[in-house]
Amino acid sequence: MTTLKDYMGQVPAWCPGCGNFAIRRAIGEALIELGLEPWQIIVVSGIGQAAKLPHYIKCNTFNGLHGRALPVATGIRIANNRIPVICETGDGDCYGEGGNHLMHAIRRNVNVNVFVHDNQIYGLTKGQASPTSMAGMVTKVQPNGVIAEMFNPIAMAIALDCSFVARSSCTDAEHLKSMFVHAINHPGFALVDILQPCITFNKLNTWQWYQERVYRIEEDYDPEDKVRAFERSLEWGERIPIGIIYGNKRPILEDTIPNIRQKPLIDQPFDRSRVEEFISEFL
């Protein structure tokens, strides 16, 4: 039987006490619960502390460019729509550098699971503001405080009719694992925004800050009610809801492509005679 130990890869280069350790553990536990072995999944990542995660668990990996995990994941799913694909990304990678791809991956509803390690700050480049940094936060580069309005990924995803939108927190390990399981089980694009303290650079949104605010959304909450979901997505500050905020059953991209409905592209061998048939069209 696969155990958590089987999932452990290189020794992480994260700061001791980083929220990423909790995320790594929760992913391992979720995959075990789903009965997925390391070789049965592909983890795609870009650049940032979160993007290093696939080196620290065992899995198939494509660790590419900053912000570009989603197009890579989309290409993988079109080539092989049988294998579960997870993107490990951060608030800078996914909401900053790769914002355009997020918007369009949600629109396509490609069956990819995006886990955003959202620590509201840039860690790898040492402490600059991220798209989700709260207005007023002072950093080395924003000495007068962040002026831009904080990016709200949950509200944006709902507006785009994202088929699965959840938020979780490193401060609630059990919840984190269950969100991963739900996301991977969900057919369609799944966004999980994970609140995560950066113990080195973010002195505002600390473990304690999240612990005091985060609460699990009510059990009778209906995530298919889009208007209510949008209202909940705006809840931030004194109290922050975690859980599946929104979901729907839109058709997924892969199911709308006739050429891969029966069989993944990787399982359709090349046949030159079929290409030769096109030559007569030029006569």
Partner: protein, 617 residues
Amino acid sequence: MIPFVGGDFFVNPGRLGIIEQVVAASAKKISIMDYTIKIGGEAGQGIQTIGDTLAKVFARSGYHVFSHQDYESRVRGGHNFYQIRFSEYPVMSSRSGVDILIALDKASIDLHRGQLNASGMIVYDSSSLKSKYEDAGFLEIPLAALAGQHGSPVMSNTAAIGGTLGMLGMQIGPLLDALEQNFRSKGADVVEKNQSVARAGYEYASINCPDCPFILAEPGKPLYLVRGEEAVGLGALAGGCRFYSAYPMTPSTGIMDYLAEKSKEYPVVVEQAEDEISAINMILGAAYAGVRSMTGTSGGGFSLMVEGLALAGMTETPAVICLGMRPGPATGFPTRTEQGELLFALFAGHGEFPRVVFAPGDPMQAIMLTARALDIANKYQIPAIILTDQHLMDSEWTFESMSLEGTHHTDYRLRGEELADVHDYRRYALTESGVSPFAVPGASENLVVEDSDEHDQDGHIVEDAETRNEMVRKRTIKKLQLIRNEIAPPLLYGSRDPNVILIGWGSTYGVIREVIDRLSPEENIAMMHFSQLSPFPDLEREGHLQLLNQAAIAICIENNATGQLAGLIRAETGFQLSARINKYDGRCFLLDDLLEEINDHLERLHGAGSRVVPGMR
């Protein structure tokens, strides 16, 4: 016509027969049929429909065709034209003179009247141009009225096509067949109406143009008509491409159109990406997962892809990019042609990694080299670039035969039973050749890890110098050595011992070859055409450099301002070419203009009064 020459570098013109035929014809004072039809008008008037149909009809009738298009970056209005040349001999460039000008607007007459050959004709309809021309050389055909009487007013372009064939005295049968094919999906009524309108235009021109001076040569058998963009698309399929992702951009959009159409009946998937960054990353994802993939763009989009190009280099993921050049910098002339990105294609990307760059000269080469780019990219796990331009992408050529013979497909991926037997897999295993077996992820218990960071043999991040050295040796130095051997030297055409060498690359192939055909009777001349540019071909191995050294003059002809190939040859070989002809107005070289310029050089070489007069008309 010209076969693809892999390693065999010399094309014997005697075997091709073209020069001999031309020489024989001119000696006997037989005029060679060589007509040019120009269709001018505003965007949206249907110029392309007329041009496409005529080109198809000529090719089916057994004439050789070359067509090119000149259009503005707008959907309606402005001035566009479509130029078709046809002959009983192979034609591969456009000429400056026009024999029939089909003027759909007044601007076409104002702009192109001066290009009319001595016995040329202008066809127009005064009801739509709101002008009447009484001068000789004008033939008014009431296109709109004929269309209205015999079919529907929207079919006036069909009347123009019929009228043109009537003026030429060509059989109408192939046109009626083409209309049947074009309009079949719209029902029998639409087909019949178009056919009657075509007949009406045909008869009107036959009766009302008794002075039409056109004499047709005996046609041959029906010929294949291929446009550059379709050729790249077909070559992609022949090379095993199963996934194409791109953002629309002239002049490469046609590849995506072709493949999307084919996806209805063939297992290829086309995804329109949100931007070019996404396009290249998508194809890398699909390639990693185990499917041959490709993208296409123009200079601006390629600029956005450059980081992804380096990612392909670092992760050793095969990627094929068709870069269709247009005049830059920045937005430049969005719908015109230039060869301004040779050095960009050669050197794009941060860091050092091997790549191949192919620049096909005609649609047949485009098929072969695109398929070959896919093969080499997958064999060596490297990026490959097909460097073409608006001129080649939009131009049509005819071929007597067409096949995929010479394309090659081997599945280099580690998968299936072969993979099932592997238990100690490492994605970047150090091998003798530098190429590591590339397993399909998820197909076995072996983990396939690719990384844009410097990595160890397992694909995981490292920081140490020793591993870095090993990986650079494997990824860059060793592979480069192997890839060099795959590159064919430039194609030679013409004299075996030339006194004059014309050098070109990519889309200037056709026009330079025709210049050689024209000048060969009098001049000891040859073409050296580069279609494989990176790694730079070895010019010593088969004597190319020696030819250059022995020639009295070597002229590099490029559709750019700075002479990028001339500079590259000097950088790679130390050989300084004696002259350059550069054109950078966004238009292609025309045969007559290039002949003039070459003649200027020859006159300087041989002394005044030595001017070689082109053999025909």
